[in-house]
């Protein structure tokens, strides 16, 4: 699914004070079909907001968002989102959480459970199909969240820090898994992360956003051949990219600190 965004701005109205908060300001970029794109930027710069706009959950205040040349009008079956908080239904078992998206899209329960089986294995959840969310670890909940989106086979996969609750080892494993799955499906993917090395490992392109209000600071192409092995994280090329991106991020981090000191002024 091809993405074309021009002049996208998103403003929130703060409920208490009625003040405007500009989350994204004049953001524009294009993503070709089948690309894996990572988004990084300081906390609160509008990364989740960007994904919500693409998911059709948040309408833009200004600008144009085209998916395969058609403007976004609300959510659609061709997109799926992996939420930052796992957002599992506590009254459904792991299996029925994974099938939830399919059920909403009109797939029968038997059919949905059949399809879900593969993805449950893939996410390392076998044996926990009948457990309830409160009975599994935070990391496993996050994997249910991932499987639930993948199982609908979307043309555009939106992932909002899907691995933030995983320990480093598991995180590596899941990065490999996501890369492997993506090799097979080649679905256009937008992946938000805080970790620079995760972004480099996964991405064809990295979009770096500025501190709030989020704008595009830079778009960095990543050209490691695929399929990628964890070994590339130790190569000099990787380190060069890592240094460059952390420098970009540091500049923005200072901006955040500066903003906060301004906010704190009496």
């Amino acid at each position: 699914m091809k993405i074309d965004i021009t002049g996208l701005s998103v403003e929130y109205i703060m409920r208490r004070s009625g003040d405007k908060l500009i989350a994204l300001k004049e953001v524009g970029f294009s993503i070709a079909t089948g690309k894996f794109v990572c988004v990084i930027g300081p906390s609160g710069c509008g990364k989740s907001t960007l994904l919500k706009v693409l998911a059709g959950l948040q309408s833009p205040s200004a600008g144009e968002v085209l998916l395969d040349a058609a403007p976004v009008q609300g959510p659609g079956k061709n997109r799926a989102m992996v939420f930052q908080s796992a957002a599992l239904l506590p009254w459904r078992t792991v299996l029925r959480n994974v099938t939830y998206g399919l059920e909403l899209q009109g797939v029968s329960i038997q059919e949905a459970e059949k399809i879900a089986g593969d993805f449950i294995d893939m996410a390392g959840l076998s044996g926990f199909e009948e457990s309830y969310p409160r009975e599994i670890s935070g990391g496993m909940q996050q994997r249910v969240n991932l499987a639930r989106a993948l199982v609908t086979r979307p043309d555009l996969l939106l992932m909002d820090e899907p691995f933030s609750n995983l320990d480093p080892q598991l995180r590596n494993v899941m990065q490999l898994e996501v890369e492997r799955i993506w090799e097979q499906t080649r679905q256009t993917t937008l992946f938000v992360t805080h970790l620079i090395n995760e972004a480099i490992f996964l991405a064809d392109e990295i979009i770096v956003l500025t501190a709030r209000p989020g704008r595009i600071k830079e778009i960095v192409p990543i050209n490691f051949p695929r399929p990628r092995k964890l070994g590339i994280k130790k190569t000099p090329e990787f380190h060069v990219l890592e240094d460059r991106l952390s420098e970009l991020m540091d500049q923005e981090f200072h901006e955040v600190v500066y903003q906060q000191s301004q906010d704190d002024r009496p």
Partner: protein
């Protein structure tokens, strides 16, 4: 919680109950306190035996019938109205002040009206139970629907869920724990409704039996009614606890 009592604790509960009953029996049969006021376990048993042979079953059946009908109607309409009020903002703006006011009114004062409208048969008592049980259910269910997790809402919508799907897959299940909370309050209020209704004007029922016994100074029979009602309330609470357990995983 109670179900996990250790053997020692169970023994303790059993022991204290026996001691309590023994003291009660002794106080009464040694005439330390006049049994006219406090009856005694043995008198209650004798009295109960006589009552069961002389129509107590019918009183129990009538009271149960009143309670169950009133509760069923309260649950049915309470849950539906609660869902509707939680879901449709405009409706709640119009209707909520009304039911808040009705809930604040002393409901006992409505009983004479019910008796005028519905007579002294079981219908007026069903209404009394309904009035007690309906409001706590409406309010808790309404709150349940309103407090659906925003994240879950986004999730459902991201998969293209329509309003009906959001309602059936999110609003209904997430209101279940709230319905249970409402039921706990409603059961108590419903029981009060039965008894007060029957004390006021009735043709049968446990409350009716108690009021007749009281006006002819038969303390023992009054106590039989009291024991029955207490037992009934206890059983209901235990049943609710079991249902609570079943729905435990539904809580967010």
């Amino acid at each position: 919680m109670n179900s996990s009592l250790s053997r020692y604790e169970k023994l303790l509960v059993f022991g204290t109950t026996i001691i309590f009953l023994t003291i009660w029996e002794l106080l009464s049969s040694l005439k330390i306190v006049d049994p006219f006021f406090i009856s005694s376990p043995s008198r209650i048993i004798t009295s109960a035996q006589w009552l069961f042979a002389h129509g107590l079953w019918n009183d129990i059946r009538v009271s149960l019938e009143e309670f169950l009908w009133g509760m069923a109607l309260a649950i049915l309409f309470g849950v539906i109205l609660g869902w509707a009020l939680g879901w449709y903002r405009t409706l709640s703006v119009v209707v909520e002040p009304f039911i808040t006011m009705m809930n604040a009114a002393p409901r006992v004062a409505l009983l004479p009206l019910f008796i005028l409208w519905l007579g002294i048969g079981i219908e007026s008592k069903i209404a009394a139970v309904f009035m007690g049980a309906f409001f706590p259910i409406v309010f808790t269910v309404m709150k349940g629907v309103r407090t659906i997790d925003k994240g879950l809402f986004d999730l459902a919508r991201s998969f293209g869920a329509n309003d009906v799907q959001v309602f059936t897959t999110l609003a209904i299940p997430s209101s279940v724990p709230y319905i249970m909370t409402g039921l706990h309050i409603a059961v108590g209020r419903g029981l009060v409704g039965v008894v007060i209704g029957e004390l006021l004007a009735a043709q049968a029922g446990i409350g009716f039996m108690m009021s007749r016994a009281s006006s002819s100074f038969q303390t023992d029979k009054v106590f039989v009614g009291l024991v029955l009602l207490t037992g009934f309330g206890y059983v209901l609470t235990e049943v609710l606890k079991m249902i609570d357990k079943y729905f435990e995983s539904w809580r967010i």
